[in-house]
Symmetry: C2
Subunit: 270 residues, 2 copies
């Protein structure tokens, strides 16, 4: 099954557009986990196990693992999710972007070593920097389009012949790069008008939407702007508000409650 | 000493603008190294030791290490270079780019874990995605501007109000982002006219120039386009033609000869 098919199946089966972002910051872990050698794996695994029936996918952010020398725990985490929650795809948020020969190495890293189902990729270096990921026909390739951070508009808002750069990227991906149906786009939740604009350009292409929760994006406006006719098409990421909902030994249960509330809030506006 | 100061000192001391790119591909290793558990470290270390007096810096490409689960060998390699070749800075080619909180994690990875002296960064997400690297005052931050791959022009050549996107990035970095003197730019060797254009925009800002050698960039044209008044200002990367110059047990010596020839060819046009 391809990433796109798994995602569509998970939207239905779990009745959810919620993606739980796994950004493990040991400083925020419950006290009983601190100092344990596999704390990162343990923390993420418990939250994945507690929320797997409420999400359409998981999205580990590789920077948090790399900063802690925890590549082995990331491998173990993704293997655990695949073994215990089949049908819930894993997006590895890595935002890679390099020339073809180097991108081939990153593709080995992300798809073969970590066995991720999809990767986030930066479009600045153009089509041939994306091809090595597309060469894995079952995998998803999620390109940065409009990001939700304050500096996102520094380049993405530049006018490139009557449209903004992010609109051009959306058009390029939808009309030229997505020949195999493997592509999706990152569009931040901070600006619902821009989600609507991207949706208009790309038809039913899946949109990964960070910025709900800690970054302040509005759920109702995001859904109205980005949902497709079938009430899907969105992967709405929530990291911190789910991960750090609890502070004691029952943290995974607290995360489940937060994920449930987040999923249900999203579903009110589908 | 800051990255910029180390670089300037190495330009002088080694009379060299050459950067040896460390992109270790085990399939291309000499036969006697194949299958050894620390072959990646061994290969790169031998080449670094054989060329350290001929270069202005080294540039390991992290993708090659990550694809082989060799993060520990990358750590050991950079530690070895620092211990044995002080004064030769190490650029970790990682082309990271993410929101501030994630970029902080990458900065820990690149500067604290790997102890690199500089990082390559993708500008697509804007200034606040770059700030966490600039927060390390001794470190260099080398932003992608114009890349040498075929798809480089897909976005970088877009017209943004009478100039191309890569020119705008050059201007943005030179006039707004580089307030602390830590920045440099990546400008591919494939198009010397564009190196000249960037040099015109950015004054004496250091330019990292990949694309000499395997990618076919012309040394004379590159130097004429990009050197500063003092005959420096360039970090000219050569990876494959140096790394894989030899195929037997004397490979490091062959790499030294290739690096020497490359340095001297560059120096003819300074």
């Amino acid at each position: 099954m391809t990433f796109t098919q798994s995602l569509a199946a998970a939207w239905q089966k779990n009745n959810s557009l919620l993606c739980v972002g796994l950004d493990p910051d040991p400083a925020k872990f419950p006290a009983h986990l601190k100092g344990k050698p596999d704390a990162i794996f343990e923390f993420c695994k418990s939250i994945a196990d507690a929320t797997a029936d409420l999400v359409c996918c998981f999205k580990p952010q590789i920077a948090y693992f790399a900063a802690q020398r925890a590549e082995d725990q990331l491998e173990a985490l993704i293997a655990h999710i695949h073994a215990n929650h089949p049908g819930v795809p894993v997006i590895l948020d890595a935002k890679r972007g390099d020339i073809g020969s180097t991108a081939e190495q990153y593709a080995v890293e992300i798809f073969e070593r970590y066995q991720a189902d999809a990767i986030t990729v930066n479009p600045y270096m153009g089509k041939d920097s994306v091809d090595p990921y597309l060469a894995y026909p079952d995998k998803g390739v999620i390109l940065l389009c409009r990001t939700s951070n304050p500096g996102g508009s520094d380049l993405q808002f530049l006018d490139v012949g009557g449209k903004k750069l992010y609109e051009h990227v959306a058009e390029l991906v939808a009309t030229k790069w997505n020949t195999t149906g493997q592509c999706a786009l990152v569009v931040g939740a901070t600006f619902p008008g821009e989600i609507a604009r991207v949706r208009e350009i790309v038809g039913d292409l899946p949109l990964l939407v960070p910025g709900i929760g800690a970054q302040g994006g509005d759920v109702e406006a995001t859904l109205k702007a980005g949902r497709t006719a079938t009430g899907t098409g969105l992967i709405i990421n929530n990291s911190r508000a789910v991960l750090y909902a609890g502070k004691d030994e029952n943290y995974a249960q607290a995360s489940r409650q937060a994920a449930l509330a987040s999923r249900d809030l999203i579903n009110r506006y589908r």
